[in-house]
């Protein structure tokens, strides 16, 4: 999947957690959780959904580094995100 596809999946999952946000207004370089007001349970649910939909292993030790939308997309692309068969 390319980065645009990955971004679309993230957008989809964020809409479930935070239906009221306008995805287009998010700054990809800034802290995603601060911008969208995601608590630790929300973020864990986001990672769970991304893990299941993209088949990417996201170790807990890496999760803390994925603060911004840009870093999250780049990480998933690097790890070979692909929809499950």
């Amino acid at each position: 999947m390319n980065e645009a596809d990955i971004l679309a999946v993230i957008r989809d999952e964020l809409a479930r957690l935070a239906p009221e946000i306008a995805f287009e207004t998010l700054d990809p370089a800034l802290d995603l959780r601060e911008q969208v007001d995601l608590d630790s349970m929300d973020f864990l649910n986001l990672l769970t959904a991304l893990h299941q939909r993209l088949g990417v292993d996201i170790p807990d030790a890496d999760a803390a580094k994925l603060a911004s939308l840009a870093s999250l997309v780049a990480y998933l692309a690097r790890k070979g995100a692909a929809p499950p068969p």
Partner: protein
């Protein structure tokens, strides 16, 4: 009509999920009621057969009034009313006038398909054809897990009437501050052991089975509450009644404002894995506007945990008729003295607000210290 909160005077029946003649057992969800907290699934507390439904969907029913008659096993003829599923009388009227009963929306009937209310609501939201779904629940009932993954979501309407919820919070918290002589204690607890244990426990787990620090906080509090019963129970009719069970009410913030603190039943007996799974389930359901009557009615002690964002300490307001609330701030790294040397350590601000009619600061301090002590041996939580 059960009392689903200190401030509740009546609830509006949304729908029946049972019919006359149907057998029910303890814990079955029999009806959905709309309250200021949103739609709540009403569980039955007795086994038997539904004899007669007394309230029509759409009706506003006062707390304590019968909703239906059930015939218990072995009881031949005229039946008894379903008792409210709380064994205490409705609390005293709040000092603030409650807002008008919320308006009721009738979900469209979906034939004779067996489906849980939460699944029914989600299926209706998504316009799914119930006949095309296969249920795996009791009696082939369709459950949430049986629904296909959501399509790209359109922003859903808020499941709550936030002005109603704000009125409910205001009534309960005003009553609390009028009636309960709060005292407050605060401590800072070093949690290196818990952090390291959690990192090791999560290292090999996929996100769906990972634990959050909040689960350790809730479990540590529940275990400590067993040893300090004067913080776990209800103050009603001028007397404190400790609870043998520990049902921690978990404060859950809602997007857009408001909060709810429904119970996790028998918290102290749950493994961390089970507790975490229940916390995830509860947060998901509460934020979707769906929780069960027993979860609302019977928390014995509340825990409010701010997670890893926010501030370092929160001082809670006790939710009556409970007598204590334990607060956890966010975990922060701070200089800490260990063996005469200063080093960075993760610490958490731990607070207690408790009811002076029931306990004093000395016991409160011991209770809070016990919570902190439990966190030093995370492997035993």
């Amino acid at each position: 009509m059960p009392s689903l909160g200190a401030d509740m005077e009546a609830g509006a029946l949304v729908e029946w999920l049972v019919k006359p003649g149907q057998a029910v057992k303890r814990g079955d969800i029999v009806a959905v009621v709309e309250t200021q907290k949103g739609a709540i699934e009403i569980e039955i507390f007795e086994a038997g057969t539904v004899e007669r439904l007394l309230a029509e969907p759409g009706a506003t029913v006062p707390v304590g009034a019968p909703l239906a008659m059930i015939r218990t096993e072995g009881e031949p003829a005229q039946a008894q009313a379903i008792p409210p599923p709380v064994d205490r009388p409705p609390p005293a009227a709040p000092t603030l006038a409650p807002a008008a009963p919320p308006s009721v929306t009738h979900p469209s009937p979906a034939g004779r398909v067996r489906i849980s209310p939460a699944a029914r609501r989600l299926a209706a939201e998504r316009g799914l054809d119930l006949a095309a779904l296969t249920g795996t629940g009791p009696g082939g009932a369709i459950q949430l897990a049986d629904l296909p993954a959501a399509p790209p979501a359109a922003p859903a309407a808020a499941p709550f009437d936030f002005s109603q919820m704000r009125a409910a919070i205001a009534a309960a918290m005003s009553r609390s501050k009028h009636e309960i002589p709060h005292y407050y204690l605060s401590d800072t607890v070093e949690i290196t052991a818990a952090r390291d244990w959690l990192a090791a426990a999560n290292a090999e787990r996929p996100p769906e089975t990972r634990l959050l620090m909040g689960a350790l906080f809730v479990k540590a509090t529940a275990l400590a509450a067993r040893a300090y019963p004067e913080f776990n129970g209800f103050f009603e009719n001028g007397a404190f009644r400790p609870s043998a069970a520990v049902h921690v009410g978990m404060a859950i913030a809602l997007r857009g404002g408001g909060l709810a603190a429904p119970a996790i039943h028998d918290t102290a007996d749950l493994s961390l894995e089970t507790l975490m799974a229940q916390m995830r389930d509860l947060v998901g359901r509460v934020r979707a506007g769906r929780f069960r009557s027993s979860e609302i009615a019977d928390p014995t002690l509340t825990v409010s945990s701010l997670g890893d964002r926010g501030v370092e300490a929160l001082f809670g307001v006790i939710y009556p008729p409970q007598v204590a609330i334990v607060g956890f701030g966010k975990v922060v790294e701070r200089p800490w003295v260990v063996d005469g040397a200063i080093g960075p350590r993760p610490v958490v601000g731990l607070t207690l607000a408790a009811d002076h009619r029931v306990s004093d600061g000395h016991r409160g301090a011991l209770f809070l210290a016990e919570v902190g002590r439990r966190l030093q041996t995370p492997e035993s939580l």
